[in-house]
């Protein structure tokens, strides 16, 4: 299955990744190969198999609603490239919240 350059562009946009024209070509090839591999997997007859989304075998895992410990503000912000008055700072997004 061939992934078009437009589809690559779309996926890159959704992930907010800048992609050059050269990369579009390269990724379209690479991603198409992955899809081919999936096609190969799809040939296996799975009509008797329940779809599995979680392999832990656990169900209904829940936790009581009580307070745990939070990170101190300094720690929470310690990996931030930019911070200001206790906030993380990013490039302006003018789309509203």
């Amino acid at each position: 299955m061939k992934l078009t350059k437009d589809q690559v562009k779309h996926v890159a946009k959704l992930a907010n990744l800048p992609v050059t024209e050269e990369e579009e070509e390269k990724y379209s090839e690479q991603l198409s190969k992955i899809l081919d591999y999936i096609d190969q997997l799809n040939q296996v007859d799975t009509s008797d198999v329940e779809p599995t989304f979680n392999v832990s075998g656990q169900t209904n895992v829940q936790s009581e609603d009580k307070l745990g410990v939070c990170l101190p503000q300094d720690d929470a912000l310690s990996n931030a490239p930019k911070k200001e008055n206790g906030f993380f700072v990013t490039k302006g997004v003018f789309d509203n919240e």
Binding site: S56, L71, F88, K91
Partner: protein, 430 residues
Amino acid sequence: MAYGETQAMTKYEPVIGLEVHVELNTKSKMFCRCSADYFGKEPNTHTCPVCLGLPGALPYTNQQAIDDCIKIGLALNCKISEKSLFERKNYFYPDLPKGYQISQYRWPLTVNGWIEVEGREEIRRIRINRAHQEEDTGKLTHHGGSTLIDFNRSGVPLVEIVTEPDFESVEEIRDYSKKLQQLFRYLGVSNADMERGDMRLEANVSVKREGESELPKYRVELKNINSFRFMVAAVDYEIKRQIEALEIGERLSQETRGWDEDKKCTYLQRSKEEAHDYRYFPEPDLPPFFLDPKKIKEIKNSLPELPWNRAKRYQTKLGIKKNDAQHGRKHKIIPQEIANYLINKKSDINTLLPTQIIEEILDKRVGVIENEEELEKMAKEAMTENPTAVDDFVKGKQQAIQVLIGAVMRRTQGKADAKRAREILEKLLK
């Protein structure tokens, strides 16, 4: 429908669906045990690796939130799913540290309910598509050329309630929104304060030719509107705008619009070209839920009387007019009763709803002790118990009788008529 009657020949009818988001008032967040009480707190002080989306952190579901979502679903006549899964809703935006929101899509907790709403003339059923569980995002503040992020709100439990496109008028929207707000407060699952953002409304609006059975090919999403009044104004404006556009042969497209209160009009926020593609898939970090019918039954039995059922009961049992029962007005409750209620309960007027007060006062009235002998007996007991108050009153200190009235009210658990109790006490003290 009356829309478009003044325009040319064609009549139109609006097609409206609503999405309501409500933040639950659990102690901790949806998938970690950070405090969910974020309002007005120092930024980024209620976070941990889970709600900051740090690599390797694993979510842990809040049981109370799941129960609260089921309560909401049950109150809206939804079917509780036997199996429920969380899914990842992928999109890229700075309010979302993981790059996805944990939400529900194909296996919501509750589905296919309904609620009765009152519009212009008749009471109609609005179908509820689902009430599902998800998590809130961080809060963004736009500041000069940059955006500030506070993740205290990230991961706070959020329930989303989606209707089918069944609304036919803004009156129905108003009634529905108010009913839901009242419901959340009755169930005690949220404060549902619109201004604080506890409860948020979104409307999907389109119009079609009257009588046409097919739904329109486009819909306009009205978002980020933080009051009932603005939402009603926005929908009203949007219906008229769309009819006018169709009348001059314009084609309407899928877009998101907001409400400009100063200009009293809606404005374009996002057009179709940027429409999201969320690529939902089941959250591999959270095992599935299988909901035990016994537990559902327990939750169902624990639900309080729902506000609309209570309103109906007042109408039939107490003969209160429909409007009064619903809006809590003109109950012939005297101001003194309300004052007594507030003082006795040491209530916080800022959080109490007028309807709530009226209903609780009415609730007490239902059981008012009418029996004179019984009241007299309790008055005597109150006097024996409070000799000082009796003494003071006899010596001329009029207000000492309040202590005795209070004692009678306590003995009757508030079910005595305070005025009648005073009369009896005065008679006995003479």
